[in-house]
Symmetry: D2
Subunit: 321 residues, 4 copies
């Protein structure tokens, strides 16, 4: 397939109707339909060493973030003050060297309060996050599904636990660099070249992860990290759809180069994947250990927390070999 023509045709058709989805007119699962029971069984067969790689980053108030996105957590230790005065409580007794609590077992607890946006840190976007105009995947409209608390369709709770084959395409290694540059577009040639060099082929239902090396800036230079990013171009987006990939993601804060191929179409790569094709994207993955270990094929597992009607879930998927 000619990449340029493909990208062009996408642009020319951008006002056309893209729904119903090939998975059915009311489908909300999108490309996760590609993960069959046989796929799950085959993925489990890839586990031979019992080694697990954690692909998620720890979230805290100071992670790289955008205007309007934030995360705050506050320790709540008031139970240590309140429990000793409950019926059956034991006071913090001076002299004994022992702290009090509730009951003869002197139980206490610590909790926390969190406030923030779910679109932060390592996360999975729901198909209710991005739109073309006011329409989502399968043509759902915002005016139909918006509620005060979230959306009544396509929320992150519609995404089931994921167990499937995972593939890492180490684009940085293929290009012979530590990390790609911001705005640098990953081409189909890059992707296919990297996979060939790794000796793995992408199959329907796979999760395909891109390692660009950009993720090293997460800790090293948070401001630069969010100032731009390398990433897939529209041709790679088409390729993912054609290869019936179930999910994708990279070690970047969005998916697709920023600045992008076409300055007049901001975030068109994730928008196209989510809205037109129902293809799920993970952001801010930590692929460094996997790339360093040259692990290119693995059982991918993702069991995310489900909050009703949310556009994202903070995640920490694992690669198991």
């Amino acid at each position: 397939m000619n990449e340029d023509n493909s990208a062009l045709s996408t642009q020319h058709s951008e006002l056309d109707q893209w729904w119903p989805s090939r998975y059915g007119a009311r489908d909300q699962l999108g490309t996760l339909n590609e993960i069959t029971p046989a796929k799950v069984v085959a993925a489990a067969r890839l586990v031979r060493a019992g080694t697990t790689y954690d692909l998620g980053r720890t979230l805290h108030a100071d992670v790289p973030r955008f205007e309007g996105r934030y995360w705050q957590q506050t320790l709540v230790s008031s139970a240590h003050i309140i429990n000793p005065r409950k019926p059956g409580g034991v006071p913090h007794s001076a002299g004994s060297g022992q702290a009090g609590g509730w009951g003869r077992n002197r139980v206490n607890w610590v909790t926390e309060l969190v406030t923030g946006t779910l679109q932060i840190g390592t996360h999975l976007d729901g198909l209710n996050h991005l739109q073309i105009g006011d329409r989502f995947y399968n043509g759902y409209r915002l005016e139909e599904i918006a509620e005060e608390w979230g959306t009544s369709k396509l929320g992150i709770e519609t995404v089931p636990p994921i167990v499937t084959r995972g593939v890492l395409a180490d684009i940085a290694r293929y290009r012979g660099v530590d990390r790609l540059q911001p705005g640098q577009v990953v081409t189909v040639a890059d992707l296919e070249g990297a996979l060939r060099a790794e000796g793995v082929a992408v199959e329907p239902g796979d999760v395909l992860l891109l390692h660009t090396g950009w993720g090293v800036l997460w800790d090293e230079d948070p401001t630069r990290y969010t100032s731009g990013e390398p990433g897939a171009g529209m041709a790679v987006a088409e390729w993912l759809v054609e290869h019936r990939v179930a999910m994708t993601g990279a070690d970047t804060w969005s998916f697709g180069a920023v600045p992008g191929e076409d300055p007049e179409r901001p975030f068109v790569v994730p928008q196209t994947l989510n809205v037109r094709h129902g293809l799920f994207i993970m952001e801010n993955l930590d692929t460094a250990a996997l790339a360093a270990a040259r692990v290119y094929e693995f059982m991918f597992v993702l069991t995310h927390h489900k909050t009703r009607g949310s556009t994202a879930s903070g995640i920490a998927p694992a690669a198991v070999v």
Copy 2:
């Protein structure tokens, strides 16, 4: 082993020092140390049908909850108003039947804001949640590890992704009831009887889940759900430790009967497991489908979101067969 004596001895020794842990004086992993690479490989071998059971409940503002615990989510759709007026934005044009957005691709997005406590819904407790007096697992003290944003040790981010063998003990079925009663104590005889009836044996490194049937009240009667619960007694807690179980959990809001065996020792079961033994507990699991399908042995997978220094993580683990 004599259950009564075991429980008694636990109580008599409750002011004794319980650290260092058998996993080392500075260990933070607790019983997760029992999950070896061989265990991971063996767990993956249990996947033969490719069927996945979701053990997590969807969180929203109206789930059963306690005084002081809450969850609020608010849809944020202001990008639909702001994007059309950005440079390159397309207005919501009257007449065309098409909504505007940013760029020629008219991109828009929806996000959300969340506020609440992590100790709510289906969640995994960190070893920094419960204390005896002011001490945690391995003798860590609150005054050493408290920070404004959480705890500097034992936070939920120290818990790695979990892949191991899972076992469900259907106590309700063994007892011949739909659900156990609040305050009803699960005994070692119940547990061993249920496992025998199921034809499965618990091995070191397993995740052992208890199905009490109480979880059906989550949706049916939220107020009653939190008013009490059936659950493991202290003898079962000892049994879990002796059998080197890696994690446990049930279809209840805490772990252990409420009201408990000893009214003078509130929450002594989870306190003992967490603090003395470093044994992890999951709460509010949805074990109904697993029990209905009589699936008693499975690959257990849990990849939870990691927030720094938190005492819990909202989860939705999966059982895969």
Copy 3:
């Protein structure tokens, strides 16, 4: 003036353009323009006894509230744990009977975290809260003034401190009841009758408060409190505008009867006052003590907290005589 005709004409003209305001095309102050320096001086002259009445209710998590509105506050006492270990910190020393803290002065502090909506409790609505379609007071459009953090015009920070003459119209007393009924419409005859009975006349720039008696349910029966309310009809709304009242408010959760005069026009009374006339409204006032003391004329003072671009501010105005 014929009330029915007035109300009717308002309805007939409801699709007409209502801007620019009589206070100028870019004005954001609305009826607060009526408060002149002379008005401030005259108001201060009303203070003869030095008695202050607090018109605000205390906000907490359990006050009457609507779907989607909430308020949560959490005590944060972690400084008591952290301060003693700071450089120069004094430990909580066993035996001395004294708690530690930071420095030789053993300083500690308690703080709190709040999350919620500003549209709750006793509050002043900004002119950026209600709209007709997408237009605010003076024709400002949502698409022009919406930002992620609030609105760039008409926010509550544009409201200055208020010192002016206040008048209480005790409608309940005039009608000879403890409290009016939900849906009961306060008429111009009620209002003028009550003022005549009190011997006070409304002048331009006054703050006019209505006592309906409904506020007693705030504490007594929170659910009933929000299930409906008595209040001003459209004719009273017109009267307030004609009399150039600067602000109004009542002991109810909105302003105007609920259910209202016209079931096809929900919240048309506050909408008309805010949007067409720039007349400010306070909600959930506590007018009981003022009514009981038969204080009908006073210096009204309101110094509210200013948060940028907010649609409301929690308030506790005072009546001083």
Copy 4:
């Protein structure tokens, strides 16, 4: 009185019991007891021009703040999407140029969600904020008054509306500088000199405000603003108590020089005023306009929002002449 001896004696007695308060053993009002009805009446007599000065700053996410303190506000405009589909709702009709809403009056609304700490921006501290060890004003102990949601005594809701005489001491002008330096201690000589130059005397029940000029950095250099501050020394603190001042405050983020007179006693000035004497403090006041206008005597009004058990309230008091 000899300043040095006074300060010294304070330090020597710092472990002594300071309660009960001179206002009574269970008093929670502290120095606000000094504001008598006669004081209120006299304050109102100071209003001759009808000019109002706003002493509060507008709060937003980017104001100067400390580690752990924050403020976030998010616009909520979902009603514009939801209202048109309610029963009786009018759709956003293409072609008519008019936006829809709920009812024939097409009502819509905008709200917001806020999250943050109350100890930020221009605010009044409650007497439940600072402690010596674990004790507050009048000897109240944290273990007695802490609740999950705040404190059961001394909360900001116990503070009534304030109307009294206000005095501004322009220390910067007296010292002949635009602004004092960080760590620069305001002495009794400075204070008395400034008041003498202004021709005003402080009386019991007054609110005394200090203008140091430091506040100009609030907008100009937020980072420097919070890096230190000029302010009252311990001798001025004693002076305020002796003169029975009802409240004080300055154009700084705390009250008292930072770094302070005694490096071993952090925040001892506000701690002493709050805890030992029940004297209220306002922080981050905007005194610039008042100082520029050379207004030194005025009616001070403060009607703050009351949230249950809070340690602070965001405020915007006014000076009226």
